[in-house]
C-alpha cells in the first residue's frame, strides 16, 4: 500500500498553488515518522487486501446500524475509509495544547458575553458581531452566569502546506461526532488488527470516561447520585446514531423533550407514574428549540420552562444554552486579542484567515477578492452555506456585520482507498475537548473526513501515537474505568410506546413475509394454470395481498408486485415499510436495546440488496426467507432482555399484532366456501402463513377441515399463534404494568375478548350458508373490532405521551390591541 501511495503522491497534481501537506510521505519521498513505525505491518496491505477490508468495514457498519443523514435527506449508511490518519505524538502536541487553550478561551468569552460584556464595551469584540448572531440568547442574560458553559467542544482542524494546524470551525453548542469517532475506532481495530496492535496508539475509551465524569460533576448542588440524561431531537435527527451511541456508552438515558417536564422550576423525567428529578441535561437539541415558552414557540423538541430552571440553577444544561454564539465565524479575527485580554497569553492555535466584513477597512481590502474567498453569514443561517454569485456583494453591503470572508482552506492529504487503489485525498479532522478537573483535555484521536461534496462524506479513524510505549491511554491515569455502565432504564411513556411499536412492526413484517413467500410459491407453480385448485388459491391469496397493500397485482407483473412489497419503503403495507418503522422505533430506544438488534437490520438490508441486484424470480423467495430468518433472530434478541416494562410492551405489541394477523387471514379465506379441492389448498395455505401447518399436521394427521383450522388458530390455548393464546398472554403482561388496576380500559377490553372467544361455538362457526360461513364472519368482525379498540386503549392508558405545547392564543396569533 505504501509503495502505491508514495507513487501516487509523487505524481504531479493539476491543482495550482503549493502542494498539500501529506500525512504519510514527506516532500523528499521518505515516510513520516508516524508511518515509519507502521511500515512493517502496512506492507501486507495490498490493494486486494484493502478491498477485502473495505468490504468488512461496510458489513461491520451495517451490523452496528451506523447511519447518518445529511440535512434534509433520508438516512444512509455511515461511510468509513479503512486507512486511518496517523499522527505522531510530536506532531499532535501543538494541536493538543492549542485546543485546550482555545476551549478555555471560548468558555471565558461565553462567561463574559452572558455576564458583564466587557469584551463588547471595550470593543475587543465588535458588539454587532454578538448582537447580530442568532446564537446569542438574550433570554439567558440577566441572572447568575454559568462559569463553565463549555464542557465539551469540537473543532474542525486541518493543516497548512507547511504542516501547521489551523482551525476551520468550532462546534460549541451541541457538538456531534464523538460517537461516530468511537464507532470508527471499534471497526478499524477489528479490520486491521495487526496494524492496530503494532501502532502504539492511544486507545480512546478513557476519554469517554473523562466525558462521563465531567457530565456527572456538572450537576448543580449536592446531589449524591445525580441523574444525567441525553436530550435528543428524536430518531429522525441527522446524528441519531451518534446520540444513541453516546447515551449508551456513557450510561445516560436517551430522552426526548416530551419525556421531561418542569415543576417548581425543577426539571423532572416522567417515569412510569412518578417524576424523577433531572440534574444534568446533555443536549443534542439546538438551543433555540429547547423551550417553547421562552425560545422558539413552534418547537416540539423542547421542555417548557427549561430556561427558567436553568436560570434558577436547578438543572445544568451541557453545553450551556447560548454556547452556540461562539461558533460565530466572525470571531476568528478577534480571538488573538481576546486571548490576551482574558487569559493573558498569546493565542496558540490560529483560525483560518478570516475577515469580518462589518469592519469597513476589511471590507474594502477584500472587496476585489471576494470571488476567491468563501463568504458566509456569521451564524451560517444562510441555507445554502457559502454564498456566491452577483447578488453576493449587494447582500453583504446591506448588512456587512452579518458576513465573514474566509480564505479557502489548504487541507492536508492522506491516503484513502478508491477504485484504483490508495490515492491522496484532502482531509479534515474533528477534534473533541472536554473539561477535566480544572483544565481542558483534548481527545488523542478524532473524527477524520475526506472533503467531498454531494454525498455522505467518507470518514476516517484518527490515530494519535504514544510518545513512549508506557504512556497511559489518553495520558489519563486518574480516571476510573467505567464498570457496569448500563443506561438505567428510562421507562418514560414515550420509550414504552416505541417498544410497543417495535413489537408490532416486527410481527407485522414477519406476517407479511410469510404471506409473500406463500404467494410466490403458489405463483411459481400455478400462475400458468389459473383453473387449477392451486391457481384459485393463488387468487384468494392475491386478494389478501390487495387488502394489505392496494395495487392491481396483475398476473404479468406479479413478481414485480412482490418485489415492491419487499423493497419499497414508501409502499403502504410493505415489508420495507414495516422494517423502516421498526428501525425508527428501535432507533428511538437504542440505548435500551442490545446491539445485536442492529445485526438483524444488517441482515435484512443485505437480503434486500441481493434482491435489488437480481432479476431472477426465485430470488424473491430467497430474500423473503433470509428476511424472515433475520426477524426470527430478533425474537431471540428479545428473549435475552430484562423482563421489565419495556420488554412487556414489546410482547404486548407482538401479541396484538399476531391476533390481528389471524383475523385478517381468516377473513375471506375460511369464511368462504369454494370447491373441496380449492378449500383444502386455501386452508393449507392459511396454516402455512399462520405458521401452524406443522402443529396442525401433528394434531389432525393431515386431514384439513375448516373446524380444525379455526380451532387451532382461534381457540387453541397451546398454539402460540392462536388468538386465545395471545389474548391471554397480553392480559398476563398487562397485569404486571404499574398503571394496571385490573379494571383499566385495556384490561376490560381483554376481558371482553376472552368472554367473546369463550362464547363462540366451533360447530356453529363453521356452519355454511350458501357460499359463506356467516357466524365465522360475524365472530371475526367482532374480534377484529375489539382488538383495534384494545390497541388504542393501550396507547391511551399506558403510553399516553405528553400533549403538545401550544401558545396561550389558540384561535389565531393575537396581541393586546391598544391605542
Amino acid at each position: 500500500m505504501l509503495q502505491d501511495y508514495s507513487a501516487a503522491v509523487a505524481q504531479p497534481t493539476l491543482t495550482a498553488g503549493p502542494p498539500r501537506y501529506d500525512e504519510v510521505v514527506a516532500p523528499d519521498g521518505s515516510l513520516r515518522p508516524a508511518w515509519k513505525a507502521l511500515a512493517g505491518a502496512a506492507i501486507g496491505l495490498t490493494r486486494e487486501e484493502l478491498q477485502r477490508i473495505s468490504g468488512d468495514v461496510v458489513r461491520f457498519l451495517s451490523d452496528d446500524g451506523v447511519r447518518y443523514s445529511r440535512p434534509g435527506e433520508s438516512p444512509s449508511w455511515w461511510r468509513l475509509d479503512p486507512v486511518p490518519i496517523v499522527v505522531s505524538a510530536e506532531e499532535w502536541a501543538p494541536l493538543e495544547v492549542g485546543l485546550a487553550q482555545r476551549t478555555e478561551l471560548l468558555n471565558a468569552i461565553l462567561v463574559d458575553l452572558y455576564g458583564p460584556q466587557t469584551l463588547l464595551s471595550s470593543r475587543v469584540i465588535p458588539p454587532e458581531l454578538v448582537f447580530g448572531h442568532a446564537g446569542f440568547l438574550r433570554e439567558l442574560r440577566g441572572g447568575p452566569v454559568d462559569q463553565h458553559p463549555l464542557l465539551v467542544s469540537a473543532s474542525d482542524v486541518t493543516r497548512t502546506a507547511t504542516g501547521d494546524w489551523q482551525v476551520l470551525a468550532d462546534r460549541t453548542g451541541a457538538p456531534s461526532g464523538i460517537g461516530y469517532a468511537m464507532e470508527n475506532r471499534r471497526v478499524i481495530s477489528r479490520v486491521v488488527p495487526e496494524l492496530y496492535r503494532g501502532a502504539g496508539l492511544h486507545r480512546v475509551a478513557p476519554f469517554f470516561q473523562a466525558v462521563r465524569a465531567a457530565m456527572i460533576d456538572a450537576a448543580p448542588g449536592e446531589a449524591s447520585d445525580p441523574r444525567v440524561v441525553l436530550l435528543s431531537p428524536g430518531p429522525q435527527s441527522e446524528t441519531a446514531y451518534d446520540q444513541a451511541f453516546v447515551a449508551s456508552s456513557l450510561g445516560f438515558p436517551l430522552v426526548q423533550g416530551s419525556d421531561l417536564v418542569v415543576r417548581d422550576g425543577i426539571v423532572w423525567m416522567r417515569a412510569f407514574g412518578r417524576l424523577e428529578r433531572v440534574d444534568v441535561i446533555v443536549r443534542r437539541v439546538d438551543a433555540s428549540y429547547t423551550d417553547p415558552l421562552e425560545l422558539r414557540g413552534d418547537s416540539h423538541l423542547g421542555v417548557t420552562g427549561l430556561v427558567e430552571a436553568v436560570r434558577r440553577g436547578t438543572v445544568r444544561v451541557v453545553n450551556g444554552l447560548g454556547s452556540g454564539v461562539v461558533e460565530n465565524l466572525g470571531l476568528a479575527p478577534f480571538l488573538a486579542r481576546a486571548c490576551e485580554v482574558l487569559l493573558d497569553e498569546p493565542l496558540r492555535l490560529p483560525s483560518i484567515r478570516s475577515y469580518w466584513l462589518g469592519d469597513p477597512d476589511e471590507l474594502e481590502q477584500v472587496r476585489p477578492r471576494l470571488e476567491e474567498l468563501t463568504v458566509r453569514t456569521i451564524d451560517r443561517t444562510d441555507p445554502t452555506g457559502a454564498l456566491e454569485g452577483d447578488d453576493l456583494l449587494r447582500r453583504v453591503e446591506a448588512e456587512p456585520h452579518r458576513f465573514v470572508a474566509q480564505e479557502r482552506p489548504h487541507h492536508s492529504q492522506a491516503p484513502a482507498l478508491g477504485p484504483f487503489g490508495v490515492q491522496p485525498e484532502p482531509v479534515v479532522i474533528r477534534t473533541f475537548t472536554v473539561r477535566h478537573g480544572s483544565a481542558y483535555r483534548t481527545l488523542l484521536g478524532g473524527l477524520g473526513s475526506i472533503m467531498e461534496t454531494g454525498r455522505v462524506p467518507r470518514s476516517k479513524d484518527v490515530w494519535v501515537l504514544k510518545a513512549r510505549p508506557d504512556e497511559p491511554d489518553q495520558r489519563l491515569l486518574e480516571v476510573l474505568p467505567m464498570t457496569n455502565v448500563r443506561a438505567p432504564a428510562a421507562m418514560v411513556p414515550r420509550v414504552l410506546e416505541d417498544m410497543f411499536w417495535f413489537g408490532r412492526y416486527a410481527e407485522r413484517a414477519e406476517d407479511t413475509l410469510r404471506l409473500v413467500i406463500s404467494a410466490h410459491g403458489l405463483a411459481q407453480d400455478f400462475r400458468s394454470r389459473p383453473w387449477s385448485a392451486g391457481g384459485q388459491t393463488l387468487r384468494v391469496l392475491t386478494r389478501k395481498l390487495r387488502d394489505l397493500s392496494p395495487s392491481p397485482f396483475e398476473e404479468d407483473a406479479f413478481d414485480d408486485e412482490l418485489r415492491s412489497l419487499l423493497l419499497d419503503p414508501f409502499r403502504p403495507g410493505s415489508v420495507a415499510q414495516s422494517v423502516a418503522s421498526l428501525r425508527d422505533a428501535a432507533q428511538a430506544v437504542r440505548d435500551q436495546l442490545s446491539p445485536d438488534v442492529w445485526r438483524v437490520f444488517g441482515a435484512i438490508d443485505r437480503a434486500a440488496g441481493t434482491l435489488a441486484d437480481s432479476a431472477l424470480s426465485h430470488q424473491v423467495t430467497d430474500t423473503a426467507g433470509r428476511m424472515l430468518t433475520a426477524i426470527s433472530a430478533l425474537h431471540g434478541v428479545c428473549d435475552s432482555m430484562m423482563r421489565d416494562d419495556g420488554w412487556r410492551m414489546i410482547m404486548v405489541g407482538r401479541a396484538v399484532e399476531r391476533c390481528q394477523q389471524v383475523v385478517r387471514l381468516l377473513d375471506g379465506t375460511v369464511t368462504e366456501r369454494r370447491g373441496i379441492d380449492v378449500d383444502r389448498d386455501v386452508l393449507t395455505t392459511v396454516l402455512m402463513v399462520a405458521e401452524s401447518a406443522v402443529t396442525h399436521r401433528r394434531r389432525y394427521r393431515g386431514y384439513v377441515r375448516p373446524a380444525g383450522v379455526v380451532e387451532l388458530l382461534m381457540f387453541d390455548a397451546d398454539n402460540p399463534r392462536s388468538i386465545s393464546f395471545n389474548v391471554d398472554r397480553a392480559a398476563e403482561l398487562l397485569r404486571a404494568l404499574p398503571a394496571s388496576t385490573g379494571s383499566t380500559r385495556p384490561e376490560r377490553l381483554l376481558a371482553d375478548l376472552q368472554g367473546e372467544l369463550a362464547s363462540l361455538e366451533l360447530a356453529s362457526l363453521v356452519v355454511i350458508e350458501g357460499e359463506r360461513r356467516p357466524h365465522l364472519e360475524q365472530a371475526v368482525a367482532t374480534v377484529r373490532g375489539l382488538l383495534s379498540r384494545f390497541a388504542d386503549a393501550v396507547l391511551e392508558v399506558h403510553l399516553a405521551s405528553a400533549p403538545t405545547p401550544r401558545s396561550f392564543d389558540l384561535t389565531r396569533p393575537t396581541r393586546e390591541v391598544a391605542p
Binding site: 440577566g142 415543576r263 422550576g265 427558567e308 401558545s807 396561550f808 389558540l810 396581541r815 393586546e816 391598544a818
Partner: protein, 290 residues
C-alpha cells in the same frame, strides 16, 4: 404624577387546560424619571410557581406556572407609580442626526450597547420602504430631535389608527400597504425608519393615562396597554416618542418594559397543555391618578 395601574389579562378556553406556563412583563421599571412603589402580580388560579427576575434589558420578567386544571387564566398586575417630568438636554437634542449613530460615536460611553438597537430584529426589518420614508424627515444635517419629531408627525398623519387593520404577523411592508394599524405597528414602523438610518431606538411597552371625556366620570378599565419608541441621544438620554398620539411620552406615560420589538416584551405570553379549540383574550387596563 402618581398612578395606580391595574392591568388584567384574561384567557378563557373552551376546554380544560391542564398546565399553563407563562411569562409576563407587567411590572413598571424603576427609572430616573419613574419610581415604582407597591407592586404585585397575581395569577388566578393560584400559580404553584411564580418567580420574578430581571431580563437582558433590565425589565422585570415574571415566570409562572399553573398546574391545576382551569378554563380561565387571569394575570393581574397592580402597581403604584410616580412619573416625573424629564428635563431634556437641549444641546444634545440639537446634534445633527447623522452624529447620533452609535457606530460613529465610540466617544460615547454607552454607544456599544446602543448598537444592539440599530440592528434589525424579527419584527422590525430594515425595510427599504421604511428607509425611504424615514429619509424624508432625516434630511442632511437636521437636528436629531427636530428630525425625529417630524418623522413622528408624518407617521401620525399618513397612517390611520385602526383596530383590526393588522395582526401580530403584519410586516412593515403590510403596514405601508394598509396605511393603518395599532400602536405596536406605529412603534415598529418608527423603529424601522430610524434604525435603517443607523440610529438606535427601543420599543417601549407601558401605559398611557387617559382623561375621561369632559363632564364624564373615569371609567375603570377603559385604558389600555400602550407602546411607543425611545430614541438614543448621545450624551446619556433617550427621547420617548409616541407616534400614535404624535407627542413626546411625558409624565402621563408609565414605562413597563423595553426591547427590540414587541416580541421581546409582550405583556403576557405562554404555553398551555390542553385539547381546547378556542381561546378568548380579554385585557383591562386602568391607570388611575392617585
Amino acid at each position: 404624577m402618581r398612578y395606580r395601574v391595574r392591568h388584567t389579562t384574561t384567557y378563557t378556553y373552551d376546554e380544560d387546560v391542564s398546565d399553563s406556563y407563562g411569562i409576563a412583563h407587567v411590572t413598571p421599571r424603576e427609572l430616573p424619571w419613574q419610581h415604582v412603589g407597591q407592586h404585585d402580580v397575581t395569577v388566578d388560579p393560584g400559580a404553584t410557581d411564580q418567580w420574578a427576575t430581571s431580563d437582558h434589558y433590565g425589565n422585570t420578567r415574571t415566570y409562572f406556572q399553573v398546574d391545576q386544571p382551569h378554563r380561565v387564566l387571569q394575570v393581574e398586575a397592580v402597581s403604584d407609580v410616580e412619573v416625573l417630568t424629564e428635563v431634556r438636554d437641549e444641546e444634545a437634542d440639537a446634534q445633527p442626526w447623522e452624529a447620533c449613530r452609535p457606530a460613529g460615536r465610540r466617544d460615547v460611553v454607552d454607544a456599544w450597547s446602543a448598537t444592539e438597537l440599530v440592528l434589525r430584529s424579527e419584527l422590525v426589518p430594515h425595510a427599504p420602504l421604511a428607509h425611504a420614508y424615514g429619509a424624508e424627515s432625516l434630511r442632511p444635517g437636521r437636528p436629531l430631535v427636530e428630525a425625529a419629531m417630524d418623522l413622528m408627525h408624518r407617521i401620525h398623519t399618513d397612517f390611520t389608527y385602526e383596530q383590526g387593520a393588522s395582526t401580530v404577523t403584519s410586516t412593515i411592508d403590510d403596514l405601508f400597504e394598509a396605511r393603518a394599524g395599532v400602536c405596536q405597528d406605529f412603534a415598529h414602523l418608527t423603529l424601522a425608519c430610524l434604525r435603517s438610518h443607523g440610529l438606535a431606538a427601543r420599543y417601549v411597552s407601558g401605559y398611557l393615562a387617559t382623561d375621561p371625556p369632559p363632564g364624564k366620570e373615569r371609567i375603570v378599565g377603559a385604558d389600555a396597554s400602550h407602546a411607543w419608541v425611545s430614541l438614543w441621544v448621545p450624551g446619556g438620554t433617550w427621547l420617548a416618542l409616541d407616534p400614535t398620539n404624535d407627542q413626546l411620552a411625558g409624565e402621563r406615560y408609565v414605562t413597563t418594559a423595553w426591547g427590540r420589538d414587541y416580541a421581546d416584551v409582550p405583556p403576557v405570553k405562554g404555553v398551555i397543555y390542553s385539547e381546547a379549540k378556542t381561546s378568548l383574550l380579554d385585557v383591562e387596563v386602568d391607570v388611575a391618578p392617585v
